[in-house]
Amino acid sequence: MSETGLKRTPLFECHLESKGKIVPFAGWEMPVQYTGVIEEHRAVRTAVGLFDVSHMGEIDLLGRRALDFVQLVTCNDATKLTPGRAQYSGLMTKRGTFVDDLLVHKFSDDHYFLVVNAANKDKDYAYLLAQAADFDGVQVVDRSDEWAQLAVQGPKAIEVVQPLTPVKLGEIKYYRFVEGTVDGAKAIIARTGYTGEDGFELYVRPEDAPRLWRKILAVGKPFGIVPCGLGARDTLRFEACMPLYGNDIDDTTTPLEAGLAWIVKLEKPNFLGREALVRQQAEGIHRKLIGVEMVGRGIARHGYRFFAAGKDVGPVTSGTHSPTLGKALAMGYLPVEMAAPGSMVDVAIRDQKVAAKVVETPFYRRAK
């Protein structure tokens, strides 16, 4: 804790060393950028970047009925997981809306490891505890203080991390993880990320994190590695149209509306929100998360509104000038009848209405 009451990750000193610009975020003091958002963004798209994401929450679900509990509280099907696999999913309210979006990692039948948003961790933990109260055979344990998390992201990520670990990284497929060591430190090595690039998320003990941070920067130097802040993390995930909780999804939006039907497994006999989602599926959604490209001059931002024929038709949920594509893009909710690519809509930017066109998402997809 600092004097401001904000939490600091184990890497706070490293951020100061790297001349990070520190801002408050979700109760944490985090680096928003080091050299500049665009430079950091480009490094990840073309080479490699290193992120401190230790603010993320980690929660263990333990016990003989851990799987049943995961199945109850999330909308994806965790029976599809085998040990060493991870799954993107939604922690659901009874209304079929998001308490949070999260990664579910399976260690074993009686151990699932959840990674949740920093801003939601306390809420998620309380929600899980409440659900577990009348559920026999599961224990919910908040491990957030026991893990630091470093994300190495970009096409060169594998070359940077490989010299530091005996684990054959090439054998870890996308959305799989192994337990091993990185620079001698005990680590969970997951081939996951929030940038739209290849890369690894390394979960390590807090005391090992600063040494590993410095080591990765040193080893990565010939590959052009740069430390990356929350600014670049946001623009990278935005181009890949990975939703951000609090912007693009929240407890008023359902995965069906957010274009995340692929994480909703209605064939599961029972989970929180299932009834609401079955109903919404049958009736059809009224609004849909879409992407737009600005046609007129201006940048649509979170909180701005879409207009059609002078009428407010929905919110812009994320928007910026895309560093990779070199144009102003945004995501937001539109009525389904206006949501098809090619459809025109206005965005209210200050006192003007600026034209935008619905386009296919994701805006950016890496070449495989």
């Binding site: 928003v32 500049g36 102003a328």
Partner: protein, 129 residues
């Protein structure tokens, strides 16, 4: 950091360089650093009358939007068209090629503005480095 002594400053981090009845306006080195990578600059049309302290335009970085305020009353005589295709000039050269507008100003436009030394003192008091 040393500010150019040939112009005046505001506490909202704009600069104004007055020559007779014309004045160039921009944002300071400190302001561009705080904004980060500038990707879009919205400037007023030529002829628009601005009140002192009124919104002159908007500068957008990848992260956020910031308003720019007119350091003095005046009408817009020119806007920097170069910024339309090269908004990054605001970062690279805030006191030169990154200028925003030229204003036609009346006598007394300098009233209430900070000189370089006073602005530096203000930055130091604000805890800016």
């Amino acid at each position: 950091m040393a500010q150019p002594a040939d112009r005046l400053y505001t506490k909202s981090h704009e600069w104004i360089k007055i020559a007779g009845d014309e004045a160039a306006v921009g944002i300071t080195e400190y302001a561009q650093e705080q904004l980060g990578d500038v990707v879009f600059v919205e400037l007023p049309p030529v002829g628009k009358a601005l009140a002192k302290g009124g919104v002159l335009g908007n500068i957008e970085s990848v992260k956020a939007v910031s308003e720019v305020f007119a350091p003095a009353a005046g009408s817009v005589a020119a806007a920097n068209a170069e910024l339309e295709s090269h908004p990054e000039l605001v970062n690279q050269d805030p006191y030169g090629k990154g200028w925003l507008v030229k204003l036609k100003v009346a006598a007394g436009a300098a009233a209430g503005l900070l000189d370089a030394a006073a602005y530096e003192k203000f930055l130091a008091e604000e805890g800016a480095h």
